[in-house]
């Protein structure tokens, strides 16, 4: 019997569950390696070569190189691990969150100042606003 995943009908949300964590293990461990200054330097010097040291999928490597955050999440990345990568790039949680929504950072920051994204229409697929 498969596990119950009642959160799958929440729109625009990937829950980092055991299946995602299994898929993303090496991607996330790569991100954590960037907590050491010397690794950040080696990564910056040659991203491709550094990524080759990690047994992750080619799709995951491509997503890292392209800084495609949504794709990394889809392939098992978790935002707290990915934070080590965007911190290495000098970027913030808000910068990355805005990118994932497809908004500009200015638009996203404005939405947050106005109280954030409303839950209405966002609780489950098909909910009316």
């Amino acid at each position: 019997m498969s596990l119950d995943k009642p959160y799958l009908d929440i729109p625009g949300t990937t829950i980092f569950d055991a299946d995602q964590a299994r898929k993303g293990y090496h991607l996330n461990q790569f991100c954590m390696s960037l907590m050491k200054a010397e690794n950040r330097e080696r990564f910056r010097a040659n991203e491709r070569a550094y990524l080759e040291e990690w047994p992750m999928s080619e799709a995951q490597r491509q997503a890292v190189l392209a800084r495609d955050w949504s794709r990394m999440i889809e392939l098992g990345g978790n935002v707290y691990f990915l934070a080590k990568l965007f911190s290495t790039d000098g970027k913030s949680f808000q910068y990355v969150a805005a990118l994932m929504t497809g908004m500009s950072q200015a638009e996203y920051a404005k939405m947050m100042l106005e109280g954030g994204r409303r839950p209405e229409g966002n609780r489950y697929v098909g909910e009316k606003r």
């Binding site: 929440i10 990355v96 947050m112 994204r117």
Partner: protein, 280 residues
């Protein structure tokens, strides 16, 4: 006898730490956030505990995906601020209380909570930002800290019910420690926020406010709220709020609200902060 005198909760948004560390707290964006902690700094002048049991979550800093403990207790005599990718925060080393921590571990495990014992770990913004918010930028933290790390990153976290019961077990453990210590329990994280996907930026102010009401007056019932409601209503990262229930379980059923603060936004997040004392 050691005793638990108060509970404190606060969000631990990384950008708050950056604002403190970079001297931006007076800027128009940040001033309303920090204003919510002015009272708290004054309150601590008269209510400084000896030890804080600081319930927080590690954000992929001490724990990689190699080992993910659901509940862990820091038993070391000191904890270094973690390098989360931009260098460690410029904050003091966190001093532990190994004797009380070891006592709690033994007591709580015998109360059926299988804590993971951690003798070496770095502590990230989840633990150091609450200290900064309450105590500012001192040369040394004015309290000893026992980190209680709860997994809320890899789904599923422990249930609200389990977190509340852990708080009750922590209280029994503290009260059986044979030294005259003033202990507070802090719960951190939350409130509503989502940091990933097309739904990033989700904030649910009415839900947060009713959750705070229930945390204060009806925590047992609140502890039964399932994970799914947190994720749906308060965002994928809003589920951190279960950690506040550990704090609440360690206090009396009836509490006095000393301070309550709520503000949107800090970066991507709704900030909540309460101080509760046992009402007797």
């Amino acid at each position: 006898m050691a005793r638990i005198t108060a509970g404190v909760t606060t969000s631990h948004v990384p950008a708050i730490g950056a604002a403190i560390d970079n001297g931006k707290t007076a800027e128009p964006y940040w001033a309303p956030v920090f204003a919510g902690y002015d009272f708290s700094k004054r309150w601590f002048a008269d209510h400084m505990p000896d030890v804080v049991l600081l319930v927080y979550n590690d954000h992929a800093s001490a724990f990689s995906l190699d080992i993910v403990p659901t509940f862990a207790i820091g038993c070391a005599d000191r904890f270094q601020p973690a390098d989360e990718g931009w260098g460690p925060r410029p904050v003091p080393v966190v001093e532990g209380h190994p004797e009380l921590a070891a006592h709690i571990a033994q007591s709580v495990i015998q109360q059926d909570f299988d804590l993971t014992i951690i003798n070496r770990m770095d502590v990230d913004h989840g633990l150091t930002i609450p200290l900064s918010l309450m105590f500012g930028q001192p040369a040394a933290w004015p309290v000893k800290v026992i980190p209680i790390a709860v997994n809320v990153v890899l789904y599923p976290p422990p249930s609200g019910r389990r977190c509340f019961a852990l708080g009750q077990a922590l209280r029994r453990a503290v009260e059986s420690f044979d030294a005259d210590l003033n202990v507070q329990v802090w719960g951190t994280g939350g409130m509503s926020h989502q940091l990933q996907g097309l739904r990033a930026g989700l904030i649910n102010q009415p839900w947060d406010q009713q959750w705070l009401d229930r945390l204060i007056s009806d925590p047992e019932e609140l502890s039964l709220v399932p994970h799914l409601e947190y994720v749906r209503e308060a965002g994928s990262e809003g589920i951190e709020l279960v950690m506040w229930l550990v704090m609440r379980g360690a206090l009396d059923p009836r509490v006095r609200v000393v301070h309550r603060f709520y503000h949107v936004p800090a970066s991507n997040t709704a900030v909540g902060h309460v101080i509760l004392e046992n009402d007797r």
